[in-house]
C-alpha cells in the first residue's frame, strides 16, 4: 500500500515536471489563437527561449537574466510572426513554419560558434539555474504517513517556474473570462469586424496577444534549459511545441480543459518511461512508441469529431483586412 502510494506520487510528480513547459506553451498558444492568429511556431519560440536563456545564464551566471533573455527571444520572434501575419497579411501557417525551421538552425549555429561545444551550451552550475523552492515544515510532516510522502514528492523542491506556471494558469482563466482585455481578445478572434466597429484596433489587440505568447513560450524554453535541465542541448524541445498545440486543440482553446490535456499528455509520458518492457495483464508488453503516439492520435480523433468536437475561434487564421 505504501509502495503503491509512493509510486503514484512519483508518477504525479514526474507528470507535473513534464507538464510545466507544455502548459506554458499551450497557454501561450491560447492567447494568440484566441485573438485569431494561428501559431504553429510555438516549438521554435520555445527552442529560442531555451537557447538564449541558457546562453545568457551561462555567461552571466544569473538565471534571472537568462529567464529575461529567453522571454525577450520569444517576444522578438512573436513580433516577427506578427509583422508577417498582421501587418503584411501573410500566411500564418507558413510564417510559423518558417520560425520553427529558422530557430532549429539558428540555435545550434549560434551555440556552435559561441561556445564551441558541438551545438550546446556549457553545463550550467547550480547558481546559474532557476532554483527550486524548499517549503518550510518538511520535518514536521515527514513522520505523518500520507502527508509526508505527498509533501516530499509533490510539493517540496519544485522549481520556481512550476509555481509561476500555476499562477499563470489561474491568471489566464481570470484574464480571459473576467477582464476587459480578455473579452476583447476573445471578440477579436471571433469577429474582428465587430471589434473594429467598436473603435478598437484589431492589429493592436493581436500584437498584444502575440507578445504574451512570446513571453510564455520563452519562459517555457527557459524552464527546459535552466530550470529542469542544466544547459541547452540540440533539439531540446523535441516536438513539445507541437504537443502543446495538440493539447491546446484537445482542450478546445479553454484554460481548464487545456490544462487537463497537458497533464494527460505529460502523464502518458511519465507512464511510458516506467512501462518500458513491463508485462501487463491481458495485453502483454506495449511498445513504447504506441504510448508516445497516443497524444497525437487522440488529437486527430478529437479533430475528426469522434471524441467531442473542437471548434476553433472563428476568425482564427484569417488576416483581418479593413474594408474601404
Amino acid at each position: 500500500m505504501e509502495d503503491a502510494l509512493l509510486l503514484a506520487l512519483q508518477l504525479l510528480g514526474a507528470t507535473i515536471r513534464v507538464a510545466t513547459p507544455l502548459v506554458l506553451a499551450a497557454f501561450a498558444g491560447m492567447y494568440c489563437e484566441r485573438s485569431g492568429v494561428v501559431d504553429i511556431g510555438l516549438e521554435g519560440k520555445m527552442l529560442a527561449g531555451a537557447f538564449f536563456s541558457a546562453a545568457v545564464a551561462s555567461v552571466t551566471v544569473n538565471p534571472w537574466l537568462g529567464l529575461l533573455a529567453g522571454i525577450a527571444a520569444g517576444v522578438a520572434l512573436a513580433l516577427v510572426h506578427g509583422f508577417a501575419c498582421i501587418t503584411h497579411n501573410g500566411n500564418q501557417v507558413v510564417s510559423g513554419m518558417a520560425i520553427n525551421i529558422l530557430v532549429a538552425g539558428l540555435a545550434p549555429t549560434l551555440a556552435y560558434a559561441w561556445f564551441q561545444q558541438g551545438g550546446q551550451t556549457p553545463l550550467l552550475p547550480s547558481q546559474a539555474r532557476i532554483p527550486a523552492v524548499e517549503l518550510p515544515g518538511g520535518d514536521a510532516l515527514a513522520a505523518i504517513p500520507a502527508l509526508g510522502p505527498i509533501f516530499r514528492e509533490l510539493l517540496n523542491g519544485n522549481n520556481v517556474l512550476i509555481w509561476v506556471t500555476l499562477v499563470i494558469v489561474l491568471a489566464t482563466q481570470w484574464v480571459l473570462y473576467r477582464s476587459r482585455f480578455g473579452l476583447r481578445l476573445r471578440a477579436v478572434g471571433e469577429n474582428p469586424a465587430a471589434v473594429d466597429t467598436a473603435g478598437l484596433s484589431v492589429a493592436g489587440l493581436r500584437y498584444q496577444a502575440l507578445i504574451v505568447t512570446g513571453a510564455l513560450t520563452g519562459m517555457a524554453g527557459a524552464y527546459l534549459s535552466t530550470g529542469h535541465g542544466a544547459g541547452f542541448v540540440r533539439d531540446m524541445t523535441a516536438g513539445k511545441g507541437y504537443l502543446a498545440l495538440a493539447a491546446l486543440i484537445f482542450g478546445k482553446w479553454r484554460p481548464g480543459p487545456t490544462l487537463f490535456a497537458c497533464l494527460l499528455f505529460a502523464f502518458t509520458d511519465a507512464v511510458q518511461v516506467r512501462l518500458q518492457g513491463v508485462e501487463l495483464p491481458l495485453v502483454g508488453v506495449i511498445p513504447v512508441q504506441f504510448i508516445q503516439m497516443l497524444p497525437y492520435v487522440l488529437t486527430v480523433l478529437l479533430l475528426a469529431g469522434f471524441v467531442g468536437k473542437a471548434i476553433a475561434p472563428k476568425a482564427s487564421g484569417i488576416p483581418y483586412i479593413k474594408e474601404r
Binding site: I40, H88, Q92, V93, Q289, F290
Partner: protein, 385 residues
C-alpha cells in the same frame, strides 16, 4: 484557404513578370542578406562562406551529382506541397508521407530478392506512391468529410509516422542479431542504378555520387504534374476547388472528392522520396532518412510559385544549399550544416509569409514610371486562412 504564392497580384498594376520573377527574387535577396548578417554575427565573412558553399555544390563533377541528388528529393516534396496548394490545402505532412513511402519501397525491395531491377523499380515506385498516398489519405478524408483542419492533422501524422516507423524498425523489421534499428541490406541486384552506372551503359563516364535514376522520374513527375493540372479536366476541377470552393460547387464540382484526390497525389509524390533515398542510396530502410525534406518542400513550392519549372529551379537552389552547407564545416570550424536551416527558414519567411513585403514599393515605382492611372485600390491578396 487561398492559393499561396500564386504570383497573381492586382490585375493591371504591374507587368506579370514582377509577380513571378522580380518579387521572389527580391525576397530571396532579403533572405540571403539576413543570412549574411547571421554569418557576420558568428564572426565569418558572408561572401566567402556563400561562395565556398557555391563552389562546394557545383564546382566539381562529384559535387554536382550530390546537389542533383538532394534536388531530386526536393522536387518530389515541392511538387507534393504544390499540388495541395493548388487545391487550397496546406500539406505539412510531406515528412511523414515520405517516411512511409520509403517503407513501401523498402518492403518491395526486401521481398523481391533476385528479381530484375527494372521490375523492382516499377513496383517500388508504385508501393511508395501507395504508402505515401495512404498516409495522406486520412488527413485528406478527415478534411473533406469532417472538416478537421489539415494543417494540424498532417502535423500529428508526422509524429505518428515517426513513432510507427521507430516501432517497425526496432521491433519488427530489424535485421536479426543487429543492434541498430534498420532492415537488412537489399540484394544488390534490386538496387536502383546510380546515374554513373546507368550512363556507363551508354559509354558516358561521370563521377560517382548518390544521384540515381530517380532524378529522371522526378523530371517526368514535373511534366506529368503540368499536364495533369493544366490539360486535364481533373486538374481543372482541382484548381477550381482551390480557387473558389463555392464556385466549384455551383459548377457541379465536388470539393470533397477533389480534396481527397489532391492529398492522394500529394502523398504519392512525397512518397517517391523513398525511392530516391531507400532504393537508390541507402539500400536499406533506416531511421529518419527523410531528415526534413518534407519541410524543405514547403520552401521549394513557395519559391517556385507552385509551377513545375519554378519548383525545379527552387529545388536546385536548395540542393546547392544542402550540399554546399554540408561541406562548410570542413573549412570553417565555427560553422556546421545547421546554417543551411537558417537560410531555409529565412527563405520560407520572406518568400512565403512576407511575399508581399516589397509589393507596395515595387508597384509605386511602376506607377511613377508609367505615369498612368493609379493602380486598382485595395490590399494585396491575403495569403490564405
Amino acid at each position: 484557404m487561398g492559393l499561396i504564392g500564386s504570383g497573381k497580384g492586382q490585375p493591371g498594376a504591374v507587368p506579370g513578370w514582377v509577380g513571378y520573377a522580380l518579387l521572389p527574387l527580391l525576397n530571396l535577396v532579403a533572405a540571403f542578406v539576413l543570412s549574411g548578417l547571421v554569418i557576420l554575427v558568428i564572426g565569418e565573412n558572408p561572401v566567402d562562406v556563400l561562395s565556398l558553399m557555391l563552389s562546394e555544390a557545383i564546382g566539381y563533377p562529384e559535387a554536382i551529382g550530390y546537389t542533383l541528388y538532394y534536388a531530386t528529393d526536393y522536387i518530389f516534396t515541392g511538387l507534393a506541397v504544390a499540388i495541395a496548394f493548388h487545391c487550397g490545402l496546406f500539406n505539412i505532412g510531406g515528412e511523414g508521407q515520405a517516411y512511409l513511402g520509403g517503407l513501401g519501397a523498402g518492403l518491395v525491395a526486401l521481398v523481391l530478392t533476385g528479381w530484375p531491377w527494372p521490375v523492382v523499380a516499377v513496383l517500388a515506385v508504385l508501393a511508395s506512391a501507395l504508402f505515401g498516398a495512404a498516409w495522406a489519405f486520412i488527413p485528406g478524408w478527415l478534411q473533406a468529410k469532417r472538416g478537421s483542419h489539415i494543417v494540424i492533422t498532417t502535423i500529428m501524422f508526422n509524429f505518428i509516422a515517426a513513432s510507427l516507423m521507430t516501432w517497425l524498425l526496432v521491433d519488427v523489421l530489424i535485421r536479426p542479431g543487429s543492434q541498430s534499428p534498420e532492415t537488412r541490406e537489399f540484394d544488390p541486384g534490386v538496387w536502383l542504378p546510380s546515374m554513373d552506372r546507368a550512363l556507363g551503359w551508354f559509354g558516358i563516364e561521370i563521377a560517382a555520387s548518390p544521384l540515381n535514376l530517380s532524378f529522371l522520374w522526378a523530371l517526368a513527375c514535373c511534366a506529368l504534374f503540368h499536364v495533369f493540372l493544366r490539360r486535364t479536366r481533373w486538374g481543372y476541377e482541382l484548381r477550381t476547388v482551390g480557387r473558389n470552393e463555392r464556385a466549384a460547387v455551383y459548377a457541379g464540382i465536388s470539393p470533397s472528392r477533389n480534396i481527397v484526390t489532391a492529398m492522394l497525389i500529394s502523398g504519392a509524390l512525397a512518397g517517391f522520396v523513398g525511392v530516391n533515398d531507400i532504393l537508390g542510396v541507402q539500400h536499406r530502410v533506416i531511421l529518419n532518412f527523410t531528415g526534413g525534406v518534407g519541410f524543405v518542400g514547403i520552401a521549394v513550392a513557395l519559391m517556385g510559385r507552385n509551377h513545375p519549372v519554378g519548383i525545379i529551379l527552387a529545388a536546385l537552389l536548395f540542393g546547392v544549399l544542402s550540399q554546399g552547407g554540408g561541406q562548410l564545416s570542413f573549412d570553417y570550424p565555427t560553422i556546421n550544416r545547421e546554417l543551411v536551416m537558417v537560410i531555409q527558414g529565412l527563405v520560407i519567411l520572406f518568400a512565403g509569409a512576407m511575399e508581399n513585403l516589397f509589393r507596395p514599393q515595387v508597384e509605386a515605382l511602376f506607377r511613377r514610371r508609367g505615369g498612368g492611372e493609379p493602380a486598382a485600390a485595395g490590399p494585396a491578396k491575403p495569403g490564405g486562412s
